[in-house]
Symmetry: C2
Subunit: 180 residues, 2 copies
Amino acid sequence: MSTKPTNTSTDKAAYLAARDEFIAQWGALGSAWGINRTMAQIHALLMISPQPLSTDDIMEDLQISRGNAHTNLRELTGWGLIRSVIRKGERKEYFEAEKDVWKIFCIVTRERKRREIRPAIGVLKDCIERTETLRDPDAAVFTKQTRALLEFVEMADSILSKIARSEQSKVVPWALKWFK
Amino acid sequence: MSTKPTNTSTDKAAYLAARDEFIAQWGALGSAWGINRTMAQIHALLMISPQPLSTDDIMEDLQISRGNAHTNLRELTGWGLIRSVIRKGERKEYFEAEKDVWKIFCIVTRERKRREIRPAIGVLKDCIERTETLRDPDAAVFTKQTRALLEFVEMADSILSKIARSEQSKVVPWALKWFK
DNA sequence: ATGAACTTTCACTAAATACTGAAAATTCAA
DNA sequence: TTGAATTTTCAGTATTTAGTGAAAGTTCAT
């Protein structure tokens, strides 16, 4: 049996390196999905933070300006992904993230539905309405394709709604049974 | 009963207006999801075009430069969302889009899995591996949270894989039964 | 009521991303 | 094989998006 050295400061350094990697990559992932990098990084930081953090903590940790930190903290609050907590006898505002992965999923789903899917459905409906009675043959092709898109997006929307309204304890075992 | 005037040129104008709206909004939607606006617009244009279009057609329609059109046509080809068709006796390359909405969904799912979800899984695994044996209590919180994320992302990934491998004719009736 | 602590705003700057257009490379009909 | 047609590249530019920091605004313990 080999003895493993457990130097505390080495551990801390290894942890901090992994943590930085995680924050950086979470930011990059956000970028790829149309979410501001800093917003995603702050979210990552708060998700893994054992305690709530203040704006100053976040500014220091991520090396960003007050304005930037502030804007993105508000944005995350708007999404419902973080909430502010106040400590008694302190003026400063602290922030903590929702940590339950299922809840995070539900929040993101709900918000993207509201912000992007619903408007898209509106546009598709509008396009169909404006062209379905036209005699032009190109218009007919257009209407057909937008109808197919609408049908699909509406189905996806209703599936997501139903899933995001469910309890994780109901969905996950079911999903594992069907998809594992 | 009112008679509806069916002036052909009015119809054409109404169609073109709806079509432009669709292209513009599809572009905006792409942007919100981290896809280059022009790429999404070209995709929209080809999805609703009755015939394959050449680079020049697209340049003119969307009022973009050759370089821009070219780059984004290649990118779309890389995703597998469009393919080039050559007409016999002609040098020019034409492009047509996959129009089947289910197939489009499968392609986008497969590509985003490959480009973003798989790397994310890699990062999470790496973070867990590097921290799971550390004694630091913050590291323990970190490992726990990244594990929860990994578990969730892997489940989502396998569900998407399974769905995207299925036939629409199998999935849609099933989905409607469960989620409508 | 005061003013220190803290939050918010916003004009300006920086960085990232997308686009242009012309030149170089390639292709293929004649 | 030639050269006109077409595709590809890419250095330079434009546009969009994100970030800064200082000043203005707000809040609350005293």
